[in-house]
Symmetry: C2
Subunit: 468 residues, 2 copies
């Protein structure tokens, strides 16, 4: 391993600077969802570009999109070495309900070793970790061991509506060997973690048409199929009694975890009953025979997100409704092909549709699971960097949901990605009293500083990642 | 049988009078649902009271309710003889869409042996049949063989909101031995019919509660039960694959029809494929092994009238919703106790509720099926009257839906009822171009005239109905 005493020392001696750097940025209320803050959003972008120039990036500027701008920065002084693109975002969530904040959301305050402010960890704090790590290299060695590009988005909290388009129009500018994203939490404090898989998503709408108009449930009840009952029967047949999805072929490409991977999961500090309490359900529920974490990270799901049909008002209206419908989504795991799953579900639903109604299925929105092998050189480099900073090797975890920009980089640029965030599960992102635990912040700065050395050096099992 | 030549002759010689009588009443647009017609509704009531006095009732007046008034009339000149209460209504449905009417709805016109006007058959025409039958008795014989009371409602088309209350407050005024209602259709032209059963109704709302708030279907999909999927599984388990309701004990009190009753049904002119086409469904559907008419008249049903849960808007929202719910109603057949059915359904739903959610069931609205035995003296009298008027014995049919006033008379006054209407299924009640086929109108007048003789005389199997 490279000698990193110089980086360690710099990071430790400049903790106060790092906190001040973050404090200044957090004071700009860059709420992307609220047009009243439009000028602040732009001010936060310009502040970032100015700071990135100040710490030594050779280029840093605000670039326009159809919505809020992105900030682009670069330092490309390591020819022949890999290039990493650091993604983050400078926009923040709204702050309502304001009265639940202990201190004002845009007046950062440190209490009990935690920094409280909107955006503290999501994601300004984690971007600042990268700035300080960059600065550490430049100040101690005059150069970085890899080339770096920074792409700091301003619309992540509103679903990145212009990000696909921006990335597609700037392929050359963004060309790199690996994307590094620090916008995810670790599994728990004292459990450093790398996210190596993000589930994919496909969706459908099922439409069940019965009689041409609502019918009197007295006059005709017993003579015609009820579209709601027909839809319920379809939904009930999607899974068997063990929670296993009953669609033939659905699991064909799903990899079973190895005993080693299962043991890793079972060793994580996870309390099923506490989780059930937290979510307000009598007990957790899912596919029999799998740990809840495995079900959330490594098993596909099929969930109904909305259903409608007939009369929803007060009192009663005794009809057999003309139609019913629902929205259905599946979370996909690595190797599942969204197009194939879409077809399988559609065929199955039509095959089990009762004869007294007409059923059609529309499919929408589709993206595969995204996975970085734990054996990818960039993942191994990230693991070494994290172990060095936090004192123990990170566990690898999955992410049940999708992350918009991760999908973009995969879909548009086909790049390997490292998801290396250091937030904690109780950081209250998107809620009042968002905080960043300072030990995670400082550990994160070191992690990112070590990361570039590790990425440049490669390890005993092979070279670093191949350049483009 | 009594000699009825006098009545027959009177009815046939006064067809034009009957048509003119109906025409005058139909010209008053007594639309109860539209407050713009409030004065017309009252005018129609006063017209009725005046006409009832004119034809010889000893009392006829407009009585107030909290809504539109009712018209009450009586002729009680047959002491010691049974008393019948004739129910009808003088209010009519709205006429929209007006442009689909061939002739104006309140300007009655005869075309092809049919009288076209709003209210022609529903129900002014069928009330006028009773007026003319009453008049025939009084004019030919100077008296009636039974005592008659008339109760002509003004709010039937808006659900009779004040009828229960009116009847309960006027028990003495309305005291009688049998209620006669002419507000139902026969099965088909040339198939004279008596309705001898009306199904009952009970209802529930099922509420399924999952997590305390909507959860991210990516982050938590696989770990918690989805309330919509849980509700679908409950609904799917309410019936087996043959359409039989799977709730234990549900059919305990349901009487199977006799082979004779089944044969009667199978001999009715009923075209399943034509019915399916008419309602716009690929095929009829219901409990296996039963004729559709038996399913609609003599078998209980369980139908979902409305369902909701999660996101119902455009596009997708990837949630596991906090809750889902639905409205459920059962149509009951004779002998089923609404309270027992309510309890059975509730217990069954709670027993099959998945463990990962909380389920509760509210029950609402409850009324038993109402049945008049085909062997009841009043039913037998009605059958003889109808056979004499239409040339063939009536079939007995059921009515799948509820009829508000029928429920009132059963619930409040506990009276036997005769449902003896002569409309046709294609009369377009509630739709543009409502009509009354004149042969049915004229046959109906004779039927009602013969009815009082038959009711007074009784038949070979026993006396008439016992007086109160």
């Amino acid at each position: 391993m490279a000698n990193t005493d110089d980086l360690t020392r710099y990071c430790e001696e400049h903790r106060e600077d790092a906190l001040a750097e973050l404090d200044a940025w957090l004071r700009i209320p860059s709420i992307s969802a609220d047009s009243a803050y439009q000028a602040d959003v732009r001010r936060a972008a310009e502040h970032a570009a100015a700071r990135m120039r100040a710490i030594g990036m050779t280029r840093a500027e605000v670039l326009e999109t159809k919505g809020h701008p992105v900030v682009y920065g670069e330092w490309l002084g390591a020819p022949g070495k890999p290039t990493a693109l650091v993604y983050g975002h400078y926009d923040v969530q709204p702050v309502d309900p304001l009265e639940l904040w202990t201190s004002p959301p845009f007046d950062p305050q440190v209490r009990d070793g935690m920094l409280f402010a909107r955006g503290a960890v999501d994601d300004k704090g984690q971007v600042v970790m990268h700035w300080k790590a960059f600065e550490a290299h430049l100040k101690t060695r005059g150069a970085l061991p890899v080339n770096l590009k920074f792409l700091i988005e301003g619309e992540e909290e509103i679903g990145s509506p212009n990000f696909d388009d921006f990335v597609a129009r700037n392929r050359d500018l963004l060309a790199c060997d690996v994307v590094v994203i620090s916008d995810t939490p670790v599994f728990a404090e004292d459990v450093p973690s790398l996210t190596i898989a993000v589930r994919g998503l496909v969706g459908w709408e099922i439409h069940v048409d019965g009689p041409s108009g609502d019918q009197h449930s007295g006059l005709f009840g017993g003579a015609i199929e009820n579209p709601i009952m027909a839809l319920a029967c379809i939904l009930a047949k999607l899974k068997d009694e063990t929670g296993h999805i009953a669609v033939p072929g659905f699991y064909d490409d799903v990899r079973e975890l190895t005993p080693h991977e299962r043991r890793e999961i079972s060793e994580l500090p996870y309390d099923e009953r506490a989780e059930a309490r937290r979510m307000g359900v009598p007990q957790l529920h899912g596919e029999h025979g799998y740990h809840p974490l495995e079900r959330m990270w490594w098993r596909p799901t099929l969930d109904c997100n909305g259903i409608w049909g007939g009369y929803q008002g007060e009192g009663s209206k005794t009809i057999i409704p003309a139609k019913a419908g629902c929205k259905l989504t599946a979370r996909l795991v690595p190797n599942q092909d969204p197009a194939r799953v879409t077809r399988l579900i559609k065929e199955y639903i039509l095959a089990i549709a009762p004869p007294g109604v007409r059923v059609h299925v529309d499919s929408f929105e589709s993206g595969p699971a995204i996975v970085t092998s734990r054996d990818h050189p960039a993942t191994r480099a990230a693991a070494r960097a994290m172990e060095k900073a936090f004192g123990k090797p990170p566990v690898t975890i999955g992410m049940g949901g999708s992350i918009g920009p991760v999908g973009t980089f995969d879909r548009v640029l086909h790049l390997p990605q490292v998801l290396i965030g250091v937030g904690l599960p109780d950081d209250q992102t998107h809620a009042p009293n968002e905080k960043f635990t300072l030990s995670q912040f400082y550990g994160g700065i070191k992690t990112m500083a070590y990361l570039w050395d590790e990425l440049a050096a490669g390890d005993a099992r092979g070279a670093g990642i191949p350049p483009v």
